[in-house]
């Protein structure tokens, strides 16, 4: 039996420990917001957070997630995460939308680590997330907008 904590709730799964976390989430827990794109950590569509760090769930065995907090797009509720999602909507980033869960999870993790990322930071953090609709111009702009908004919120809290 595999015991997982996903989006704050406990899950018990009777699956092979080598099953990729992606398929545990999608097929066994029913969280389908995390997407399958390549299966070899080349496209980032499957990005989730393990203890807040972005990982490619398609090559992460479910056993590696035991004892750690798994966060998927459905459970993203950090300030950075919310700011990213709001900026995504405000700037109308999505097209087909298939890769966007992964994009948002990577962007949220970036902002947790670097609240005011440079273009080089954005390139480094987002380079592993493919978008065939090429929404990259807006992804970059939305990350910057979310960073500004988070900074404003933080400033207000401090003031």
């Amino acid at each position: 039996m595999i015991r997982l904590e996903v989006n704050g709730s406990n899950q018990v799964l009777d699956i092979d420990p080598g099953t990729p976390l992606l398929w545990a989430l999608r097929d066994h827990i029913g969280l389908t917001g995390t997407k399958f794109g390549c299966g070899i950590a080349q496209c980032g569509n499957c990005t989730v957070h393990l203890d807040g760090e972005p990982v490619r769930s398609c090559i992460t065995p479910v056993s590696e997630a035991i004892g750690r907090q798994v966060t998927t797009i459905e459970g993203l509720d950090s300030n950075a995460g919310k700011a990213v999602q709001a900026a995504w909507r405000e700037l109308e980033v999505v097209q087909c939308g298939y890769c966007q869960s992964g994009q948002i999870m990577s962007a949220a993790a970036l902002l947790e680590r670097k609240p005011s990322p440079t273009d080089a930071d954005i390139d480094a953090a987002m380079q592993g997330n493919l978008c065939r609709c090429a929404t990259y111009v807006r992804i970059r702009a939305a990350i910057k907008a979310a960073a500004n908004k988070s900074a404003q919120v933080a400033g207000r809290k401090m003031g």
């Binding site: 097929d27 997330n129 493919l130």
Partner: protein
């Protein structure tokens, strides 16, 4: 008669189209409740009766007593913004509030939902969605508005023309009466459907032309949007298929002992396209497939390499092809020319590689077949499945879900992956839902590519450097050969999709000769975002640049002289070069290139600024001007220009699918390179104001970037690159 129709509707009797009134306004009912649709996500076609009290004046919208307006989109949302576009057109004439409108996908039903540019077929492609729906969706909204107004007039004992409608509310200012759509829905449903309706003048538009938010943004940013891969049905199995390593190979034998031992594997089935492993879930099915031993019969398999194909095409190009355009006397003009240039351009096979790999859910039982799919070729797939199963087309019910990209791949006249899923479901017990999922490797190696193409060009100039003659020979597989489209779109032996963008090039040369060879190969090919223009724009716009250099003229000035009779080409060209600052000098290793091209009746010019350093092309900035008629949603247009250009830029800089002895070398995104965020240039988009009917924006930005970048590389380095992807020395 019309009252009877409405009465029938309330009695829940299904009526097909046939109660049509105004041209283009198809009337009929879609028997499904919104609650049921919500429950099942977008695209759920269902078969339940209409919910009580709601008002469905035609096949394209429904107004609930809860004041919700549901627009039924006949077109697939695959990223291009069509759900938002369809809703905008309906809501405009309905005078609905944008917030009260939601969109669902239509079922497969050509009678009600045909693409008006495609005869009797429903489907999405060729950047036609807004263009063919422009009148139809507005009339649908206007008809409903009129029925609501008449209902209010009756209730309030007023004349219809005294009633105003704004943002979902009907009102009469003198009496102070008002009601929302929901309150009038039941009464409106009893009104006769109008014979014809008046549409707004453009200066009355409240929604068209505005940057309305996309309808699919919220659910695509919180993970709740449902794609085919997300469908979960009771007792559903997942199938993964072992395909042959070469096209044309067949299963000789297979050993499934190890595969069947994998936990979760339920069935191993031989189907025409390979061997399917059916399991409880994807990972078990994939493990099962990996454990499968298949021996393939490759006697009749494709065994050529890309280099051989290109050599064969060069040989073929030495002989005259089938004439696609012959104007003036290019032979005589060439003989009289003082200066000649000749060049060869080529492009490789390409996979579409949408982020969602091919997938399809099928359930077959005694009543027919139900399909869940990012459905781009509704009627084609419906007919193909009906044919395979011996059913009537209407027994094949298709739920059109969001597609995680397509770029043409999901619009396959051969219905490949859909039929594969049906073959598997057919062998399972009746009523068993099966979800077929292709891995990325299956997707990359499963065929239906943009074909490899070769262009041979020759041009002649007179003593004053004026262009006299243009000869172009095109060699490449016909996309339409062997499909139902062949009879319509292959004219006098010329597949129009092979020569579009070249045969109709706008430049004012007196003597033009363009011909075509369509060799047959076993490699399955298909349209790829912007179709023929993916290669013709590259060849024509680069060679025209070469001609400008030979004529010792600036590429922009040269184009302007040859486009005097094409104001829309000129319009976008002038706008793009002005915004780009065409004449401003750039630094060392940097260059600017331009291209202008019409596809699907939309006109796009792009100016690319590049830096070339140590054999690497960096595209720094791209300025895009587009003329697509009335801009329905400028934000969606800008997004399609950015993204369409980006999709083309991947093929300009990186993507290439190569055959070696019949095998595809690439398998996944590590060796089939696409565009990543650090390669995306700064993009500026400018829209030409227009009152012309709107044309599509999904594809026309894609073919323009390759020649713009190649011409910029020439400006930066003096190197003329004539093969995609571009590889500078």
């Amino acid at each position: 008669m019309k009252n009877e129709w409405i009465a029938n509707l309330s009695r829940r009797r299904f009526l097909a189209a046939g109660v049509a009134s105004a041209a283009g306004l198809t009337l009929g009912i879609m028997p499904v409740s919104r609650a049921e649709m919500r429950k099942s996500g977008p695209g759920f076609a269902g078969s339940a009766p209409l919910a009580d009290g709601s008002f469905q004046p035609n096949a394209f919208l429904r107004i609930g007593t809860d004041n919700q307006v549901t627009v039924i989109s006949k077109h697939l949302e695959m990223g291009q913004g069509t759900y938002t576009g369809m809703a905008t057109l309906v809501a405009e004439e309905l005078d609905a509030a944008w917030e009260q409108v939601e969109v669902v996908g239509a079922p497969a039903d050509a009678g009600r939902y045909k693409n008006l540019f495609w005869g009797e077929a429903q489907g999405t492609g060729g950047s036609t969605a807004i263009a063919n729906s422009w009148q139809q969706m507005r009339k649908a909204g206007a008809a409903a508005r009129q029925m609501l107004v008449e209902a209010a007039a009756e209730q309030w004992q007023l004349k219809a023309d005294e009633i105003e409608v704004q943002a979902g509310v009907l009102s009469h200012s003198a009496s102070g009466r008002s009601a929302n759509f929901g309150e009038l829905a039941e009464a409106a449903a009893r009104r006769p459907v109008p014979e014809d309706v008046l549409l707004k003048d453009p200066d009355e538009f409240r929604l068209i032309g505005k940057r309305l938010p996309r309808k699919d943004s919220p659910e695509k940013t919180d993970g709740s949007a449902r794609f085919t891969i997300d469908v979960k049905l009771l007792e559903m199995y997942t199938a993964v298929v072992a395909h042959p390593p070469r096209f044309g190979a067949k299963v000789r034998s297979f050993d499934d002992k190890a595969a069947r031992k994998v936990k979760g594997v339920k069935q191993v089935l031989q189907i025409p396209s390979g061997v399917a492993v059916v399991a409880d879930d994807f990972w078990s099915a994939k493990q099962g497939r990996d454990a499968l031993q298949v021996e393939w019969d490759e006697n009749e398999a494709f065994k050529q390499s890309s280099t051989e194909i290109l050599d064969d095409y060069r040989e073929l190009a030495k002989r005259p092809g089938t004439v696609a355009r012959n104007q003036g006397d290019s032979g005589a003009a060439m003989a009289a020319a003082k200066k000649f240039i000749e060049a060869e351009y080529s492009v490789p096979f390409l996979a579409h590689a949408p982020m969602e790999p091919m997938d399809c859910v099928v359930r077959i039982d005694a009543s027919g077949c139900e399909i869940w799919n990012g459905e781009q070729m509704n009627t084609g797939d419906q007919m193909a499945v009906a044919g395979l199963l011996g059913l009537q087309p209407q027994q094949v019910r298709i739920n059109m879900l969001y597609a995680g990209g397509s770029f043409g791949r999901r619009a396959n006249p051969k219905a490949d992956y859909v039929l594969e899923a049906v073959h598997i479901a057919k062998m399972m017990p009746p009523g068993t839902p099966v979800k077929l999922i292709w891995s990325r490797e299956d997707d990359m190696r499963g065929g239906y590519y943009r074909p490899l193409y070769l262009h041979k060009l020759k041009a002649g100039l007179d003593g004053e450097n004026r262009p006299l003659a243009w000869q172009q020979r095109i060699v490449g597989q016909s996309i339409l050969a062997g499909t139902p489209f062949e009879s319509v779109m292959v004219k006098d032996g010329v597949d129009q999709t092979s020569v579009e963008g070249a045969a109709n090039m706008p430049y004012a040369l007196k003597n033009i000769h363009i011909d075509l060879h369509s060799p047959q190969l076993q490699v399955p090919v298909l349209w790829w975002r912007s179709v023929g223009s993916t290669h013709t724009a590259f060849a024509v716009e680069c060679f025209l640049d070469e001609l400008a250099v030979a004529a010792e003229k600036d590429p922009v000035a040269f184009r302007r002289e040859l486009l005097v009779d094409h104001p829309r080409h000129l319009g976008v060209l002038n706008l793009a070069v002005e915004k780009a600052g065409w004449d401003e000098p750039l630094g060392r290793n940097r260059g600017r290139g331009v291209a202008v091209h019409e596809s699907f009746n939309s006109y796009v010019a792009q100016v690319a600024e590049v830096t070339v350093r140590r054999g690497v092309i960096y595209v720094d900035r791209v300025v895009i001007a587009v003329d697509c008629g009335v801009p329905v949603n400028p934000d969606v247009i800008e997004a399609q220009m950015e993204g369409g250009m980006g999709y083309g830029l991947a093929a300009t800089l990186a993507s290439e699918l190569t055959f070696r002895e019949g095998r595809v070398l690439q398998s996944n995104f590590h060796d089939y390179q696409t565009l990543r965020i650090d390669q995306m240039p700064e993009v500026e988009v400018y829209i030409v104001p227009s009152t012309e009917p709107p044309t599509g924006v999904g594809e026309p930005a894609t073919p323009v970037i390759a020649p713009a970048v190649a011409n910029a590389v020439y400006a930066a380095t003096g190197q003329r690159l004539r093969q995609l992807p571009l590889r500078p020395a």
